[in-house]
Amino acid sequence: MNSKIEKIAYASTFVIAFGWPVFILLLVLAAALFGSDSPVMKGMVIIFALYFITALLSPLIYSIFGVWIERIHFRALEREERELSDMTVSDLKTLPTNWKVTKTFFVCENVVVSNDYLKRLFWTFRKIVGGRSNGFTRLVERARREATIRMMRRAREFGANVVWNVRFETTIVYTNSSGGGDGRNGAGVEVFAYGTAFRVE
């Protein structure tokens, strides 16, 4: 879940958010050192204009990254679920009586996932008329599958092949700086999955 595209997207948010003082300083420096008619100054103005347009269109850019990240995540989830398909996961409380258990331990894993800015913004308007939110449905699905996979991976790491009595817990996570001022929608969703892992022979 730590793909290259995620790092690029994260770096782009950093540049767009904190680029203002750097680009303005460069513009002022170019004007002071080379004069306002020099080719260096013209180049700087073009760079600054490009940055300004990028910053204006940033929600769109974030959204493209967001959709991309989501698609990559779903593909990764499918791959990992196939890898872990030999494990048995259940939310039953009691084990079948004929199973011979050699190892018992507790496993728990969590994940916090968030949607991109535009999806949250659309939802603030969509809320007026109500209805189903595909964006948030997919978000919670991603989080739940990811938490389950992590829990299964942890169980296998310690030699179990069965996870029993699985419980899920879902929480909204609010950030202090929720990036865009729509903190009311919640920043992200946390899913916590826990269960008891057994080694069954």
């Binding site: 948010t13 018992t104 916090v112 009595n165 996570v173 950030t175």
Partner: protein
């Protein structure tokens, strides 16, 4: 210390039930992590800072529960459950509770 969220442990027998034990904690990340998560939040994806925060907090809540169980003389905590609530922005309360028991080999 033996911790499970099932009501029994295969191959073991509960010899004594000592009662409910619990642990809870409220935690927040420092502002740098919050800003980083806020930026990450623009494009979506996993917010690692918050995953870690909640993970650490839950471990602490569990540790407190285990300490309480140990002080009661238990060697296992059965049927543990978790509770989470967002108290304010950037902070969550994590609760962990279970039943402290003394286990014996059956």
């Amino acid at each position: 210390m033996f911790i499970v969220n099932t009501e029994y442990v295969p191959g073991k027998r509960v010899s004594k039930v000592l009662g409910l034990v619990q642990g809870s904690t409220v935690r927040a990340k420092h502002i740098g992590r919050d800003i980083a998560a806020g930026l990450k939040n623009l494009v979506g994806g996993e917010l690692k800072g918050y995953t870690e925060l909640l993970n650490e907090s839950r471990n602490e809540a569990m540790r407190r529960m285990v300490e309480q169980a140990q002080s009661m003389g238990a060697n296992a905590v059965l049927n543990i459950r978790f509770g989470t609530s967002a108290i304010t922005a950037g902070a969550s309360e994590l609760l962990c509770y279970g039943t402290a028991v003394i286990l014996e080999d059956a």
